[in-house]
């Protein structure tokens, strides 16, 4: 199992669909809107000035509503779609300069993909699906099978290896999809709405499994979703797309506490804030070293947990401490409840206040 060394740098990426896409890049750079491009020139703006740097070994979530360009973006990483303009550098290599053969090698060895509708081969059994990537590379059959079985076991499908995809439930099919991706041992894992077709409970299971796997594998994962809960749970970093443009980029706390505009506000509104916001974000940075009797909370504690601890204690304040136990600030039950119920405008003001 290789640790990932693959960072992905996407710069000035544009994708325009139509007959003469190159012709319109300059106009789009100068501010031609998606609607105008579509109505006046009959071209569709897929991606508009995308800049993302994905560090190796992290989970990068790409989020956005239907049609915002998520699938288009992820397919640029292994060049299933050719960009109209821009550069994509993976682990120091410019993938747009690759010949067909180099690209094939790159796809075989460096990237693996999991699809929204599974994209399994219906005429092959589970094990033959899982070893597909290895077979394409011409690996020894017995050894591929061994690798395949290991991953089938790892995703919890042992005993199903000789079934056909149509005999499996959705969740099981996606486990096959994941096992297929993992057994190719690629350092980049691309997941295009891999869990969107699953029902909520199974989806949570699969998220947990992915996080567990990631702890040991440390791959560079690009994960697409339109569900903010999922994004916050999985993403080390999150990019939010709208009409092919990046509207906000940052970690979960940034998105929740400082939504850049109303579009993101709409996502944020329905999220269980207590489960994702950390006490660090709402505390007062005034450590009162004397009040040692107060309960202590780690910086990474979520508001949900903090509220529960404080309610169960005789105090209504707690000291926030960093990983080594050094006091950093003070948080009150009132601050927590305010942050839990706050949305949008008020929240942003409040955060600005706390930052002062």
């Amino acid at each position: 199992m290789t640790k990932s060394d693959a960072s992905i740098e996407i710069r000035d990426l544009y994708k325009i669909f139509g007959n003469a896409p190159k012709h319109y890049v300059e106009a789009v750079r100068n501010g031609l809107s998606k609607a105008d491009l579509a109505n006046k020139h009959g071209h569709i703006l897929g991606l508009n000035n995308i800049n993302i740097v994905i560090p190796a070994g992290k989970i990068q979530v790409i989020m956005g509503l239907s049609g915002s360009g998520k699938s288009t973006l992820i397919r640029h990483i292994n060049r299933l779609i050719e960009p109209t303009a821009g550069s994509i550098v993976i682990d120091g290599r410019d993938i747009l300069g690759m010949s067909e053969l180099e690209l094939r090698e790159f796809r075989r060895n460096r990237t693996a993909m999991v699809f929204q509708n599974f994209a399994l081969l219906p005429h092959r059994t589970v094990i033959d699906n899982v070893t597909f990537g290895l077979e394409v590379r011409g690996f020894d059959k017995a050894r591929s099978r061994e690798t395949g079985m290991r991953w089938i076991d790892r995703v919890g499908l042992l005993g199903f290896e000789n079934r056909y995809p149509d005999e499996l439930s959705g969740g099981m099919k996606q486990r096959v999809g994941l096992a297929r991706a993992l057994s190719s041992d690629a350092s980049i894992l691309m997941m295009d709405e891999a869990y969107s077709a699953l029902d909520p409970l199974i989806r949570t299971d699969m998220q947990t499994m992915l996080l567990d796997l990631q702890m040991e594998l440390k791959k560079t994962i690009v994960f697409i979703t339109h569900d903010l809960d999922e994004a916050l749970r999985l993403g080390d970093r999150i990019v939010i797309l709208r009409d092919g443009t990046i509207v906000q980029q940052g970690d979960g706390q940034d998105i929740l506490l400082r939504p850049a505009d109303d579009y993101i506000q709409r996502f944020v509104k329905d999220v269980n804030r207590g489960r994702f916001i950390k006490v660090e974000a709402v505390m007062d940075e005034a450590p009162r070293a004397d009040s040692t009797s107060l309960p202590r909370l780690k910086v990474s504690t979520t508001l949900e947990v903090a509220a529960k601890e404080l309610t169960n204690s005789p105090y209504d304040e707690a000291i926030v401490v960093d990983v080594v136990g050094k006091p950093m600030g003070l948080v009150s039950l009132r601050q927590i409840t305010a942050a839990l119920s706050a949305t949008g405008e008020t929240d942003r003001k409040k955060v600005e206040l706390t930052l002062k």
Binding site: F115, P165, E167
Partner: protein
């Protein structure tokens, strides 16, 4: 006003000249190259004779047993096996055994040939879009052309007998297999193809590991149609010297042998049903991985 009531056709002299030139040059062509054309098709002739002899000379119980065996292997279905045995025995009792063997041997060899040429052509048609346009036009013409018309050029070039009959049958029966191969490949889901690309398949790998297996049920439907059309054409081709059940029907028409004609007709229907059911059952078996259980 004469032109209004009588169609102003080209002058009879001109038409005659055109007909004469074309026919004449075809005839010179045949005369000049007839021998080499014949030599070229000699191996085919021997092949056809070999298959026909093999089927006609084999003891009938062995043929029945072999066909039942094929039915079982291909369809895995006892009803199909029973139908094959029953039909063959009935045909034998009616005294049509030899003719039937001749017909079946020609249908089988021409279908195999049509498959061997048709599937690659279908793949080509799928891959090269500009070729596809031309091919589609040609196939349209082939499929609307009355089958009798096929016989004319074949007879002019090759005369009468097995080989021209075989060629006419192959030409007549090949369009469905070409079209359905192309269609089958086109119907493969886009996401599955994307997966193949994402895992770094070469074009060949994609074709053999993904597209062809997934197109197989559609291709089987094409093979089924090709068999049926070959059978129909084998009967018509009796007009250019193909022996077998078709010839019986032809004689029955010429001499008003009502019963002989009806019996032969039923024999043809019998083998048509056998071929149809077996190839369909095979097609279904290819689909077994879809839906419920497997065997």
């Amino acid at each position: 006003m004469d032109w209004f009531f009588k169609f102003p056709q080209l002058s009879p002299e001109l038409l005659l000249a055109v007909t004469r030139t074309v026919d004449g040059s075809l005839r010179t062509l045949t005369r000049a190259y007839g021998d080499s054309i014949e030599a070229f098709f000699k191996p085919l002739f021997y092949f056809l004779v070999f298959i026909e002899n093999m089927m006609s000379n084999a003891p009938w119980p062995i043929v029945v047993f072999a066909m039942a065996g094929i039915a079982w292997i291909v369809a895995r279905n006892w009803v199909a096996v029973a139908a094959v045995i029953g039909t063959l025995l009935l045909i034998g009792l009616l005294g049509l055994w030899l003719d039937t063997m001749k017909t079946i041997s020609l249908v089988l060899s021409s279908t195999l040939f049509a498959i061997a040429i048709g599937i690659p052509l279908g793949i080509v048609m799928n891959r090269f879009k500009n070729v596809a346009g031309v091919m589609r036009a040609v196939l349209d013409v082939m499929q609307t052309m009355p089958p009798f018309v096929y016989l004319i050029p074949v007879v002019m070039l090759l005369g009468i007998g097995r080989v021209p009959g075989f060629i006419a049958v192959v030409i007549y029966a090949i369009p469905p297999i070409i079209r359905l191969t192309d269609l089958g490949i086109r119907l493969v889901e886009k996401e599955v193809l994307e997966a193949a690309d994402a895992y770094g398949c070469s074009r060949w790998q994609k074709l053999w590991k993904v597209q062809m297996p997934l197109a197989m049920p559609t291709i089987m439907a094409g093979i089924n149609q090709t068999i049926m059309m070959a059978l129909a054409m084998v009967v018509i081709a009796s007009m250019i010297g193909v022996q077998g059940l078709g010839l019986n029907v032809l004689q029955a028409i010429a001499n008003q042998y009502f019963t002989q004609g009806i019996f032969s007709g039923f024999a043809i229907v019998g083998i048509a049903i056998i071929f149809d059911r077996i190839s369909q059952a095979y097609g279904r078996r290819l689909q077994k991985h879809r839906g419920a259980g497997r065997d």
